[in-house]
């Protein structure tokens, strides 16, 4: 029986990753923000996998989604910086949510988890962009390096609000989705 659950989990993570990849392709920029920041809903399948199976399953969905994106779409800079940034953002968003949900096992825990995830993702991405991601981009695109003042400005006016809006949007969609799918999710988890 244990074996059976594992194979099912394995296959389900595969299909959820396929959905995540498709949702990732349906991305769009937000008004008023830089166009390289694209919002998509591919964190939703990862979140679902994280709360239905285990946090590791959610991380696997994030990883496979970005690997597929890199294999199929490639990366303009040659090295998958965008995919890596997306992976780190996704993981820092879903892990707190999954952790709090597993602790309380109700919608309230999930709401707090998603709110915490939004905060952690926003902080993580602001710090990582300042020290790692933005410098890496300017290096590989051979663009003039941003001064720390410029980088700070870009983070405060672009990356910070972007991740917050992304987190809040996904939280709203996921809460509505969870409300609809709650009986089904509980039934699947009980098996």
């Amino acid at each position: 029986m244990q074996e059976k659950r594992n194979v099912k989990k394995l296959v389900a993570v595969g299909t959820f990753s396929a959905i995540a990849y498709l949702l990732m392709m349906l991305n769009f920029p937000l008004p008023m923000l830089p166009t390289f920041l694209l919002i998509d809903f591919s964190e939703i399948p990862a979140l679902l996998a994280a709360i239905m199976f285990s946090p590791i399953a959610g991380v696997a969905v994030e990883a496979i989604k970005n690997l597929l994106h890199y294999f199929i779409q490639g990366s303009g800079t040659g090295i998958p910086i965008g995919q890596l940034a997306n992976f780190l953002a996704g993981v820092s968003f879903i892990l707190p949510a999954a952790y709090l949900f597993q602790k309380f096992r109700n919608s309230k825990g999930l709401t707090y988890g998603l709110a915490l995830g939004t905060v952690i993702m926003t902080l993580m991405m602001s710090i990582l962009n300042y020290y790692v991601i933005l410098p890496a981009y300017t290096f590989f695109l051979n663009a003039p390096a941003l001064s720390s003042q410029q980088a700070r400005e870009l983070i405060v006016t672009g990356i910070l609000p972007f991740n917050m809006i992304k987190g809040i949007t996904i939280t709203i969609i996921f809460m509505m989705l969870f409300a609809k799918m709650k009986p089904w999710i509980q039934r699947q988890m009980a098996v």
């Binding site: 099912k8 394995l10 595969g14 396929a18 990849y21 809903f41 303009g76 609809k180």
Partner: protein, 265 residues
């Protein structure tokens, strides 16, 4: 938009590139990504472009397929080109119009960086056009096999990846079907207020998740019935065979790297 993207669109043929071992092709692309950065003057870029064009020619893929793969990134290339053209202030001044000045170095830099983009996208497109996603996954699994010693679940990851590759077209079709079904019930996917949009997305996602989970259950049962028991001791239906051609191609890439290294300024 979706149809213009090449989603694992393998073009069957019997060219040299098609017959190469996927591991050799993956290594080739991997090394190529680093080699691209070696090119920094006209000669090296010409050598690199020639090498890439020869590979494209050998693959016998109709040029239209390659161009279709390049289409989605064309505007990025254009923006990069313009950015470098106007931002680089080196060499002779060629043209001045108010505050916009174009220098010789700017045009050169613009062409180089855009070319780097195009070459890289071409080589990855070539990989996906001549290699089935299954072959790519088998290749990755085989190349990463040493990591099993560090308890990295390489087999499981490769299996999950091949499953999701297999399901991307199926789920895409299903998404379109669900969208039509929901549109017939009055859901508007193209506009509306924020809350209407969210509701529309939820009405699409719920059936999509439940259907894909059902498919996963069926597939898991089918795998169990056929005796799937993890990667340990599993024999393969598709065997990868390393041929002299593969060794030759890898040597060619190393030679290319050395040529670029000598010719770069």
């Amino acid at each position: 938009m979706i149809n213009s993207m090449i989603i694992g669109k393998y073009v069957p043929s019997d060219s040299i590139i098609h017959r190469m071992d996927p591991r050799a092709k993956l290594l080739l692309v991997f090394i190529y990504v680093f080699i691209v950065f070696l090119a920094n003057n006209s000669v090296t870029y010409i050598v690199l472009t020639m090498f890439t064009l020869v590979l494209l020619f050998l693959s016998r893929i109709p040029i239209a397929f390659i161009l279709r793969g390049l289409k989605p990134i064309l505007w990025i290339v254009l923006v990069t080109f313009l950015l470098h053209m106007f931002m680089t202030k080196e060499g002779d001044l060629l043209y001045q119009w108010g505050r916009l000045a174009i220098y010789e170095g700017g045009i050169k830099q613009g062409i180089f960086i855009s070319l780097r983009f195009l070459l890289f996208i071409m080589i990855t497109t070539l990989l996906t056009l001549t290699t089935t996603p299954i072959e790519v996954t088998d290749g990755v699994e085989s190349l990463l096999a040493p990591l099993k010693k560090l308890h990295v679940p390489v087999h499981e990851l490769a299996l999950m990846m091949s499953i999701s590759l297999r399901f991307i077209p199926t789920l895409l079709e299903e998404t379109e079907k669900i969208m039509k079904a929901q549109a017939a019930r009055g859901v508007d996917f193209s506009g509306g207020s924020f809350s209407e949009r969210v509701k529309a997305i939820v009405s699409l996602l719920v059936p999509l998740f439940i259907n894909s989970f059902k498919r996963a259950e069926e597939l898991a049962t089918a795998m169990e019935a056929r005796g799937y028991r993890g990667g340990e001791g599993r024999t393969k239906f598709r065997q990868l065979t390393w041929k002299p051609l593969d060794t030759f191609c890898l040597i060619a890439v190393f030679v290319l790297a050395m040529i670029l290294f000598v010719l770069r300024s």
